[in-house]
Amino acid sequence: MNQPDRATQVVFATAGRPNVPEPFEAEYGPLRDSIFAYVDANADQEELAGGEPGQHFEW
């Protein structure tokens, strides 16, 4: 009764998307095989998997 117009006004931070800053707008595309080939060639998996364990996600 006699209530003012209470039409809901929805305000999104950035046109409906999370308010994440500009650098994250960059497209990140498919996971190319070239990525993994490069990693295998430049990051010794055996060496990096060794050593002293730190924190790990338990599952």
């Binding site: 994440v20 960059a26 990140y28 498919p30 996971l31 190319r32 998997a49 364990p53 790990h56 338990e58």
Partner: protein, 166 residues
């Protein structure tokens, strides 16, 4: 935060379930070097040599081609995306993981004024439950899964009867 040789310091190590930004060559076959950026989900880290750290990551993409949604971890809830620092719905391919040096060659902060390290966000606790379930489901179906954490070695202590400690 970064040592002279490009390694990030121990103080910057990402906790498990952090989202970090990784960079990779766009395509080595192309003449012009470029970079391909991907958010990476951190599952753990090691000190692979004293003072040098490696992180175990799975790779994220906003392009779901080749990433089967049912068995991979998806961040699509708006709040979860904001918490994770992701602007787009992102699929983390649980079948593809790598160990990478915690080094500026591999990881970067897209906005040094805002983030001093490559860590831009984190998976929420409810997401952690989903991730754990999906990893267990993959394992049951004999799909590739990232390695489980190795048990920490417990420092041996000398026994009192003179036999070597365990």
């Amino acid at each position: 935060m970064v040592s002279q040789d490009g390694f990030y310091t121990a103080a910057t190590l990402p906790a498990p379930l952090s989202v970090v930004w990784g960079r990779f060559p766009y395509d080595e076959k192309r003449g012009e070097p470029g970079e391909d950026f991907h958010p990476c989900l951190v599952l753990g880290w090691n000190e692979y040599v004293p003072g040098r750290f490696s992180v175990l990551v799975v790779f994220g993409t906003s392009n779901p081609n080749r990433v089967e949604a049912w068995c991979n971890f998806q961040v699509s809830n708006a709040t979860a995306m904001q918490f994770a620092g992701l602007n787009k719905v992102t699929y983390f391919d649980l079948g593809r993981w790598k160990w990478l040096q915690w080094h500026s060659d591999w990881f970067f902060t897209p906005d040094p004024d805002r983030w001093s390290t490559p860590v831009v966000g984190r998976i929420r606790e409810d997401g952690a439950h989903v991730l754990r379930y999906q990893l267990q489901q993959r394992e049951r179906r004999a799909l590739p899964v990232p390695p489980k954490p190795k048990p920490k070695l417990i420092a041996s202590s000398p026994s009192t009867d003179g036999t070597p400690g365990v």
